[in-house]
């Protein structure tokens, strides 16, 4: 997908702008409810932590993403129904936070920190190496084999271990461009 021209002062697309416009990315399971069985029990336990149901919204969305890999519109509607909110409200919250995927991503979601402390330590070389070696080629685009989606991320809070790279839930410290092939090749 190529980037449409933008005059917003920022050349990077938001996830919303990148979201596919058709429902071709929807899988059968994306239309199935998430909050049944253990996931529902987990949410019920979470609800005891807060005086309002709404406060469980971020945790509920995390459960959705863990179970489905992303947060689809049907899932947002389900969360809204469970927590007594409107789907539009839930979407408003989802779009505020960068970590909820609004479209499916590759098997490995790779986030590379390029903010200044990492930038002065060569983070941009790491990004280039990952884009090349993963076959993704372009930021935010999933590689042809469906394995990698790579994004630049703002400060991961591990600046002394430049450059930190997150692959799904795993945090890899002190990544240099030279280490990239070894790291990516070691993934199952």
């Amino acid at each position: 997908m190529s980037a449409p021209p933008t005059d917003s002062g920022s050349s990077s697309l938001t996830e919303l702008e990148r979201a596919p416009r058709s429902d071709a990315h929807m899988r059968a399971e994306d239309y199935q409810p998430v909050f049944t069985g253990p996931a529902r029990a987990e949410l019920n336990e979470l609800l005891t932590h807060y005086p309002t149901k709404m406060a469980a919204l971020l945790p509920a969305l995390w459960i959705v993403q863990r179970e489905r890999g992303w947060v689809s519109e049907p899932a947002m509607a389900e969360v809204a129904a469970v927590l007594g909110l409107t789907p539009a409200y839930v979407k408003g919250v989802v779009t505020f936070y960068t970590m909820y995927h609004q479209h499916p991503v590759g098997k490995y979601f790779v986030q590379v920190c390029t903010t200044s402390p990492c930038n002065v330590c060569g983070a941009e070389d790491v990004v280039r190496a990952i884009l090349k070696h993963s076959g993704a080629g372009e930021l935010g685009v999933t590689s042809g084999d469906g394995r990698f989606t790579v994004i630049e991320v703002e400060c991961l809070g591990a600046c002394g271990f430049a450059t930190p790279v997150m692959i799904n839930e795993d945090f890899i410290e002190s990544v240099s461009a030279e280490r990239v092939p070894e790291i990516l090749d070691s993934l199952p």
Partner: protein, 446 residues
């Protein structure tokens, strides 16, 4: 301790004493190291007495603002009939800062204990630890520690058999720098977009769920058990500079530095010794050019200013900057200041919540102009435009994210104007292709 490096003899490891020691993570290991004695003692005391000790110790907020912790706690009125809340701000996202991450990774029970004492002291039965979503390991360590503490009856309806209720919950953020701002954090915890709120009302009056709330940084709360155990006088005595700055401070050191990591020193330590002796100075063959000593939101120092600085709240202000969060970003002479300031501006543009016009437009335009200059397409007028935008972004918005974007731009133009002008006159970045270590003099002359 200079984790991941060995502790330096001139450090004073209090909070960082057990960094790198996996045995300190478990409840049993933590108890062997004196853990939960302070909570046990605190639960036998009157809450006001705990607030008094913390006030007397001189402990100030370690998240950035440096507000006296005991005074903040004293704003919580006991017996007002309302539920009180404690929020622990573990949304550590300030570029250059990674100290809270290590506290939670290595000594999660220290934070659980600090939260429990803090909650009890302010009359709260519930504390929420809001941890940024990217911190997967700290989240796991904290979740495990809280689970252990409940299983052993340290937390819950009858904390340590005291008959008092203390609940601690871990709450996972979802990727937003702005949620480190206290009122944005509360909105986020309530299940809203992380937009900061207009103050007043201040959190102590109407905070989380509209109830009286205190919000403290991880490092601040982790220091509290030590103060209860050793006394206010012990804490106050750790001071080599201004008596208003007491105790130890964790500094996260990163960027172009020989030994990056976390270092803990007594307030008032000389910054020059810190940078060269403890952290090993710049990488081989390079020289320091600039230091951002308190996370990316504080004014940039030239190396001459940094070398003259005494490391405490007042000492950093005296040298034109702030202690902030203690995230020391080192920049050497091979780096282009214009590029790095442009990158910081992009960070703020990305992280603006966009509710205030000055910030939404200001961060975006600052980034656009900075990147234009960096690409060699800037004009002399651009520098004036940047300063004018910065002026419009300062002191005019709900929170200080806007100001934080203006700060590196203004201090950068003031202190590294030659680099900006070199980009404009040469119509390219003088550092691109310049030999590493040559510095701006070589780069500008090239």
């Amino acid at each position: 301790m200079g984790f991941p490096h060995r502790s330096h003899p001139r450090e004073t490891p209090v909070l960082s004493q057990h960094f790198g020691d996996p045995d300190a993570r478990s409840l049993a290991g933590w108890r062997q190291r004196g853990g939960y004695r302070a909570l046990e003692q605190a639960l036998t005391m009157e809450p006001a007495a705990i607030v008094g000790i913390v006030k007397e110790s001189g402990l100030r907020g370690r998240g950035g603002a440096g507000f006296p912790t005991g005074l903040k706690w004293s704003f919580m009125k006991p017996g007002d009939g309302k539920p009180h809340y404690l929020c622990c701000n573990a949304d550590e996202s300030e570029p250059g800062t990674f100290k809270d991450r290590e506290i939670m990774r290595w000594t999660p029970h220290a934070l659980v204990e600090g939260c429990a004492i803090g909650a009890y002291a302010i009359g709260a039965e519930t504390a929420y630890v809001y941890i940024r979503g990217e911190f997967t390991e700290p989240l796991q360590r904290m979740t495990d520690a809280v689970r252990e503490a409940y299983a052993e009856g340290i937390l819950g309806p009858n904390a340590l058999g005291s008959g008092k209720r203390v609940d601690v919950y871990v709450h996972k953020g979802a990727g937003a720098y702005i949620c480190g701002e206290e009122t944005a954090l509360m909105n986020s915890l309530e299940g809203r977009r992380g937009n900061p709120r207009i103050k007043p009302p201040f959190p102590a009056v109407a905070g989380l769920f509209g109830k009286p709330t205190t919000i403290n940084n991880v490092e601040t709360l982790a220091a509290v058990p030590h103060i209860i155990n050793n006394g206010a006088e012990w804490y106050k005595a750790m001071c080599q500079g201004n008596p208003k700055s007491t105790g130890t401070k964790l500094y996260s050191v990163c960027g172009n530095i020989a030994r990056p990591g976390n270092y803990e020193v007594v307030m008032g330590f000389p910054f020059k010794d810190f940078l060269y002796d403890l952290c090993g100075g710049p990488p081989p063959g390079r020289r320091f050019k600039a230091i951002i000593p308190g996370g990316s939101s504080v004014p940039i120092q030239t190396i001459a200013e940094a070398e003259a600085t005494v490391m405490d709240y007042e000492g950093f202000v005296a040298e034109g900057t702030m202690l902030g969060s203690g995230g020391v970003i080192c920049i050497d002479d091979a780096q282009c200041m214009v590029k790095q300031i442009a990158r910081l501006a992009r960070f703020y543009a990305h992280e603006s919540c966009a509710q205030c016009t000055q910030c939404r437009e200001g961060t975006a335009w600052t980034t656009k102009i900075m990147e234009r200059i960096e690409a060699g397409q800037g004009t002399r007028e651009d520098l004036d435009t940047l300063l004018e935008i910065a002026d419009n972004m300062t002191g005019k918005t709900i929170c200080v994210l806007s100001d934080s974007c203006a700060v590196p731009v203004v201090s950068g133009i003031q202190k590294f104007r030659d680099e900006f002008e070199a980009h404009i006159t040469q119509q390219r970045c003088p550092f691109r292709g310049a030999a590493a270590g040559g510095g701006v003099a070589t780069a500008v002359a090239a």
